[in-house]
């Protein structure tokens, strides 16, 4: 039985890297470069078509368990400056979430400050408690931020 619900959330992660914006941007703009840091263990398929309207797909999950699918569409690309995409996350055929992500690259004295902002809606409790497979340790690490 599915309990219908829609819960909203957002978060921002900021990092400063000691290289200019074009170098940081480049790591997001080709499948080969992005696969070096984006992929998760257990990922079975990753595709990136980096252009406005282009798709990004990432599939994976525990062996013998559900398949999690990430499907993004790029909406705005400003070279070395900004990337906006929306994405859905599915567990097998169930929709878990729909989000908008904005990645901003700003030149800083020491390199580049990257600001990653995600705004989303989490649907029907993810349809399953298996969401907690994401790992208790990670959640504990994030708990302080979530409560701040």
């Amino acid at each position: 039985m599915t309990t219908r619900s829609a819960e909203h959330g957002s978060f921002t992660v900021t990092r400063t890297y000691p290289v200019p914006p074009e170098r940081v941007f480049a790591a997001w703009s080709t499948q080969e470069a992005k696969a070096r840091w984006f992929g998760a263990p257990g990922t079975t398929g990753y595709e990136l078509d980096f252009r406005v309207g282009g798709a990004e797909v990432n599939r994976g999950g525990p062996s013998g368990g559900p398949v999690y699918t990430y499907e993004a569409t790029y909406r705005d690309i400003v070279s070395d400056t900004r990337i906006v995409y929306d994405y859905v996350m599915k567990r097998d055929d169930s929709l878990i979430s729909v989000s908008v992500t904005t990645v901003e690259f700003v030149a800083a004295p020491s390199g580049t400050t990257l600001t990653f902002t995600e705004q989303g809606v989490f649907l029907d409790g993810g349809d399953t408690p298996a969401i907690r497979e994401k790992g208790t340790g990670e959640l504990l690490d994030a708990l302080g931020d979530a409560l701040a």
Partner: protein, 121 residues
């Protein structure tokens, strides 16, 4: 099976500043009841009652060993949407750290090898 009413309980439990303080300090690691009570200006039994509220909605778990009761966070209580967004955030923290390592490796490779005629991405 997780129920939405438990989310309401979680929010009620965290609506109290003393209980938020207890949860925040338990975020640093497990602690005994007396360690949790020592900086607070209230009786030990009042602290025990606050911990009981947190335990009843699944935020905190405790174990008694001899005369000492040790409390720890039980993240199952903060489930569903909170877990989801916290998990997404944690994943992006890791990803962006990995991106930093990849960028640093590229810089190191450039510095330790002869300059190449073209600068790749």
């Amino acid at each position: 099976m997780l129920k939405y009413q438990s989310v309401d309980e979680v929010f009620r439990a965290l609506g109290d500043p003393t209980r938020r303080d207890l949860v925040e300090r338990l975020g640093d690691g497990p602690a005994t009841v007396s360690q949790l009570a020592s900086p607070l200006d209230m009786s030990l039994s009042a602290v025990v009652q606050h911990l009981a509220v947190l335990e009843s909605c699944g935020i905190v778990r405790s174990e008694k060993s001899g005369r000492t009761r040790t409390c720890r966070l039980e993240p199952v209580g903060l489930h569903l949407a909170e877990d989801w967004f916290a998990g997404q955030r944690a994943q992006w923290e890791r990803r962006l750290d990995r991106l930093g390592e990849v960028l640093a490796d590229a810089v190191t490779a450039e510095q330790t090898s002869p300059p190449s005629p073209t600068r790749g991405a």
